[in-house]
Amino acid sequence: MSREARLEIMRRKIAAIEAGGAPARAVLAFGDPRIDGVFPAGGLPLGRWHEAAGEGLEIETAVAAAAFVAALIAPLAARGEIVWVMRRDDLYAPGLSGLGFPAESLIQVMARDEAEAQGVLEDALGCAGVAAAVGEVDEIGLTAGRRLQLACERHGGAGFIIRRRPFGGRSGGGAAGSAAATRWKVASAPSQPAPGEPGLGPPRWRVTLERCRGGRPGAWIMEKSDGADRLRLVADLGDRQLETPQPLRLAG
């Protein structure tokens, strides 16, 4: 066996280890090489779970993160059911519908506490007809995260955790170790209406990919235009994410 062939086998093994032992599965592509390029498989991997959180006080309403996730997973509704597990009943279906999400086919579940919400998520993802499950929970521990991962792998469903602290509740601590495949930080960004038009433009988010298993982090400004079925990349913030909001003005 040649040296090249052996190297290639080793590379594949490493890739498999990095992928968490599971074989490569389908991905949810953003449709823009500048975003898809940071993921090892060319898109957000399905059969995994992902974590999205807001910043500061936003973690109590988690509205930007929820909107971003809804806009992101709208194409998955064609593959199966989508389940949304929450602890506060304030998700408003017409608003989801406005983000291009098929709100009328979403299964909404109200859980009474954290443990129950995580249990429902696991149960949903272990079900063959469920394409994605979204949970608004405070924190996922390492064990719970691993269980969630196993549930995702069973049928290739994608899990999305939206970090949300109960109103007035104490934070469950930082996102220390986590079994999530990717971790996102989502904040609203000022919108830009079409030139000459009054009012607000389509929603925009400043999205930071803080952690990506087997891939690179990144930061972008994305927009969900009316009628479009995917998120549109407005600006690549690249490595300048730690700077002052200078790039924001460039974007706006």
Binding site: G95, I107, P203
Partner: protein
């Protein structure tokens, strides 16, 4: 004892007190004078009612159709149930015997009509069984009170010398009606089977019913789980033989001490798979307190309907497959979290934001037309709008600055107003007030956070409308 017509009177007497000549309605002082060592207790009709309800539930072991006859009676429809005891007589003996073991004295009778059974139980010989079509001669010697007449009517009938049912029945019907009103004839007909009587069963009669009786009472959780599976297998076999499925299953554990504990599960698609049904019951078994042991278990299927063997269509294959894989998941959730914890949203034709969304069961087909995409709506809608301090130019401009939960927000862009008035047709017309209209604005602050604000009412001469935050856009 109970206070009645200004004096304490006897409300009920037991067998031994009756032997002393005491009777219901006697003044307490008279009774104590006759029997100085009389033991009395205050009457508690509410507790009697509760006890009757408990007894009614207990009687479900004999028949699923039990109706209460306050204050002290029960009707059991034993049609089709007596063969389980080997006949009517053994069944009645078993019932009365079990009650006696528990310290309850009961008089029972079996007849073809509820009226005849009532008469025989209250005024006939002990444990009468009236054969079909023998109601007339069996009831003839009984006093007129056996017809369940009102006290005033019964007294009037008695005054004319019609002391027994037989004498009354021998009169022409039109004369009875003319003298005593239609109720007497109706009661007579009901007793003799010429008129039907509707009993209000506490649990509707149900042919989909299975029952397991144990020689030895069981109490361990493994045993409870096993009998739950066994009884589910029995009922599901019958359902399968007839091509039926049920949406609700009611599992009742009857304990040795006469109490019963029931567990219920619901399915979103009619089903009969014993394994799936048992799996739904298993987490609920923790709630069962077996006490000294469980001697009988019953399982009833409700909302029974035919199951059509579905075949995946060429084009609609996905919907069928998804329904079949998702339905058990929905069932698990609804049984664990409650029926209102799992739903899908549906557009409701109302312009009021709080009312624009209806909930439908998770597996019912969609029928809504969706929401108007031309009206932007927030992703999170607060159930109660939150008060904000806002600075806005009078009269109709969006705020330029507002403070929510202590944080200032400077408005960068705004859209609106969208004026939503109340639905005046849902209230009395006079109560409608144009000042309750809301002007909604969509605003974006400097950080890009988007809010849905409204001003309640209009600026007027002395009116200062308040500003509220109703929702957040993503």
């Amino acid at each position: 004892m109970a206070l009645e017509r200004g004096a304490r009177r006897l409300f009920a007497v037991d067998e031994r007190a009756a032997a002393f000549g005491l009777y219901v309605g006697q003044k307490a002082t008279d009774a104590v004078a006759l029997v100085p060592e009389l033991a009395t207790a205050d009457a508690d009709p509410a507790a009697d009612g509760t006890a009757l309800t408990v007894l009614c539930d207990w009687c479900r072991r004999f028949s699923p159709a039990v109706a209460m006859d306050p204050p002290d009676g029960l009707f059991l429809d034993i049609t089709g149930a007596d063969h389980l005891w080997g006949g009517e007589r053994p069944m009645m003996d078993d019932l009365v015997g079990r009650l006696a073991v528990n310290g309850l004295f009961a008089r029972a009778a079996i007849a073809g009509t509820p009226g005849a059974a009532w008469a025989a139980a209250h005024f006939g010989a002990c444990a009468t069984i009236i054969a079909p079509d023998a109601e007339a001669e069996s009831l003839a010697p009984l006093p007129i009170h056996a017809l369940r007449l009102e006290a005033a009517t019964a007294a009037q009938v008695m005054r004319l010398g019609l002391t027994t049912v037989g004498r009354l029945a021998s009169l022409p019907r039109d004369q009875i009606t003319r003298r005593f009103g239609p109720a007497v004839v109706l009661r007579l007909d009901q007793a003799l089977g010429r008129a039907r009587e509707a009993l209000t069963f506490r649990h509707p009669p149900n042919p989909w019913f299975a029952r397991l009786v144990f020689a030895e009472p069981i109490s361990t959780s493994e045993d409870l789980a096993r009998v739950a599976r066994d009884i589910a297998l029995e009922l599901s076999g019958r359902l399968e033989a007839e091509g039926k499925g049920a949406r609700r299953f009611d599992l009742v554990f009857h304990r040795l001490d006469g109490r019963s504990q029931s567990l219920a599960i619901g399915l979103c698609l009619p089903g009969r798979d014993a394994v799936a049904i048992t799996r739904l019951f298993l987490p609920l078994l923790e709630r069962v307190d077996p006490g000294f042991g469980v001697e009988t278990v019953t399982l009833a299927a409700e909302d029974v309907e035919s199951i059509i063997q579905r075949q995946a269509a060429f084009d609609g294959s996905r919907t069928t497959a998804v329904q079949e894989t998702v339905a058990p998941f929905i069932d698990r959730l609804t049984n664990r979290l409650g029926e209102d914890a799992v739903w899908r949203a549906e557009a409701w034709p109302s312009h009021v934001p709080e009312r624009a969304v209806a909930r439908r069961p998770a597996l019912s087909p969609p029928r809504g037309t969706g929401w108007d995409p031309g009206r932007p709506r927030p992703l999170r809608l607060f159930r109660d709008p939150q008060a904000i301090e806002a600075v806005a130019p009078v009269p109709d401009d969006p705020p330029i600055f507002f403070r929510w939960r202590g944080r200032p927000h400077r408005v960068r862009r705004a859209e609106g107003p969208e004026r939503l008035a109340e639905e005046w047709w849902r209230h009395p017309f006079e109560a409608a007030d144009p000042a309750r209209a809301r002007d909604y604005y969509r605003v974006e602050d400097e950080d890009g956070a988007r809010f849905w604000l409204f001003r309640a009412g209009l600026y007027g001469a002395d009116a200062h409308p308040k500003w509220w935050l109703h929702g957040l856009f993503g």
